[in-house]
């Protein structure tokens, strides 16, 4: 692909800065993303962790430029690929980035594939359209890719329609489509949530292999703290549209710095908790049309005090410099037990 104007090879691969997204609906303005910050390097896996509705998918859609507009609008912030702010690009260039540089796979593979074309045709189309390949060459590449994602008998299955594949195989086909044009960034939005654990293990193993081979940056969106512990290098924890904590995976599990992260980790059933009550986070996540004043987590937080109900904590208290850790909490030192 021809180089984007302004691309700086030394700039971070992907950088999201102070991203705000809102949905203007009949029942009010839902503030789905309220200042998300994170970055991604080549070969790295960043997990975005959070409960449903906290803005994970909307963030991904904003990066991809596939936000549902209206009612969804990016109202503030930057999304930089190698230094270029994607939000400022005209739509045709955005589309090229989407195909060639940043790709995405979704939870529901069936809805992302076209039911009326064979898998081989859909894959081949990518090569014909974006690489100007002949029909025969495109087909060869399609088979090659299905092979890479470990579809057995790829030569035969290339002629099948999406509904003829099982859930796990469809997910493989979608991975093949996303990787067809060798993107540098892959965003996987709950790629295994709908699958059985045995199939999940296959797919996560495949993603890890492909990522290593290609030195791709991977953003894994999930609510499963087991999956995160297994594959992530770094984690960004989201709550009510904000990244509330970011840290390397080992640090966050060993010593969370934000009360929400800590409460999440404590609510997982563990072996030594058998026969005891699980710890719970009281209450519910806020309605995004009516986010609490001060710190959004304050009504549910065990550490909350007056300051939390008045002043929102700044975007990123530096928890430590080496490793790089931040937390959006006035009292993170207390949470760390310092």
């Amino acid at each position: 692909m021809d180089v984007l104007p302004g691309v700086d090879a030394r700039a971070p691969l992907l950088e999201v800065n102070d991203l705000h997204v809102e949905f203007r609906t009949g029942y009010g303005v839902a503030k789905a993303v309220n200042g998300a910050n994170f970055w991604l390097s080549p070969g790295e896996t960043l997990a975005i962790l959070g409960e449903s509705g906290c803005g994970k998918s909307v963030t991904a859609q904003a990066i991809m430029g596939i936000l549902d507009t209206p009612p969804g609008y990016v109202t503030q912030g930057q999304i930089r690929y190698r230094g270029v702010d994607l939000l400022k690009l005209p739509e045709d260039q955005r589309r090229k980035v989407r195909a060639n540089k940043i790709a995405m796979i979704f939870q529901d593979a069936l809805s992302a594939l076209n039911p009326v074309y064979t898998v081989g045709f859909q894959l081949g189309e990518l090569f014909r359209k974006h690489r100007g390949m002949s029909r025969a060459d495109a087909r060869k590449r399609a088979i090659d890719l299905l092979d890479q994602v470990k579809i057995p008998a790829a030569k035969v299955r290339v002629n099948d329609y999406p509904h003829q594949f099982s859930g796990g195989m469809r997910q493989r086909v979608m991975i093949a489509m996303a990787l067809a044009l060798d993107p540098e960034v892959l965003i996987a939005d709950e790629p295994t949530t709908a699958l059985d654990v045995t199939v999940q293990a296959q797919i996560m193993g495949l993603l890890a292999d492909l990522q290593r081979q290609r030195n791709m940056g991977l953003i894994l969106i999930t609510h499963d703290m087991g999956v995160v512990a297994d594959v992530a290098d770094r984690i960004s924890v989201m709550y009510a549209g904000k990244v509330v904590e970011e840290a390397p995976v080992y640090d966050i599990y060993a010593r969370p710095a934000h009360p929400y992260t800590r409460a999440l980790l404590e609510s997982i059933p563990r072996l030594d908790m058998k026969g005891q009550q699980l710890s719970v986070i009281r209450g519910l996540p806020p309605a995004l049309t009516d986010i609490p004043k001060g710190c959004a987590f304050n009504p549910r937080c065990a550490y909350a005090r007056d300051a939390c109900r008045q002043d929102p904590p700044p975007p990123a208290y530096q928890v430590s410099v080496q490793p790089h850790r931040t937390a959006r909490c006035h009292f993170f030192r207390e949470v760390l037990g310092e």
Binding site: D224, A232, L278, I281
Partner: protein, 335 residues
Amino acid sequence: MSDVVLETKGLVKHFPITQGIVFKSKVGAVRAVDGVDIQLRRGETLGVVGESGCGKSTLAKLLVGLETPTAGSINVRGEDMVKLKGAALRRARRNIQMVLQDPYTSLNPRMTVGDIIGEPFEIHPEVVPKGGRQRAVQDLLDTVGLNPDHINRYPHQFSGGQRQRIGIARALALKPEIIVCDEPVSALDVSIQAQVINLLERLQDEFGLSYIFIAHDLSVVRHISDRVAVMYLGKVIETGHDQAIYEQPTHPYTQALLSAVPVPDPRLRGLRDQIVLEGDVPSPANPPSGCRFRTRCWKAQEACAQQEPLLQIRERSPHPSACHFAEIRDVVRGR
């Protein structure tokens, strides 16, 4: 044994596969549940796990009478539910209730919470006299941790976790001894999931309930279960105390299933003895001969295709296991 509250023997449910529109002819059968023997004791929780499509929900529906078995018996307090009819059947059904997975679609959106929870009283008017029903419903709301004043609200005015509490209150209305929970927390977020699990455990202690607890999250099942049954293609392939199943599994399928569960501790990354199964579950309309797991089993031998392994205690399996070569392998060490 006297403390067994529910027992199934040879329970089977085949769904016919038909061809033709006017003159339907049977061309085969989906063997959703294919010979299941389980026992549930008073006050205990039996966890049921297995991959999607292995027959868990069908088993649940058979137990509560939402499906009629093709063969087999369901004994509750010494009576075979399959043979009961009329008033006797209705009385027996009262005793075994169900909580469903999806808190968003399993409640009628046009009924108030009071009507939803009180509906079982319409079907079984003998349980609470008409004048006492509102009070009974409010007590139930209070029992499951909801505000009794919200009796006239509609389901959409509640969150997912709260709706699941409504479903639980409804299941409790007829004071059953047994509750079958089909994926009761699967649609909920972790923080809410913990609230509902704690509630179920409290109610069990308070009312001496017995639970059949179906879930695909193996750590949730481990937390709540006293015993566990592992299903594969319509059959129970291993069963035992939770510790036996989780720490000393002897069936290759159980071992693979457990080893695939990611552990929420990054220090154990790469240290797990992970068994990655190839391929998918075969179709229950046409299960493999002999052992049903043999198409994905790394230990399969000639004998496995010939002879079906029975669910029984074996030389190297101290608890029942349906594998000719059952043998303990601890796949979750360090957890």
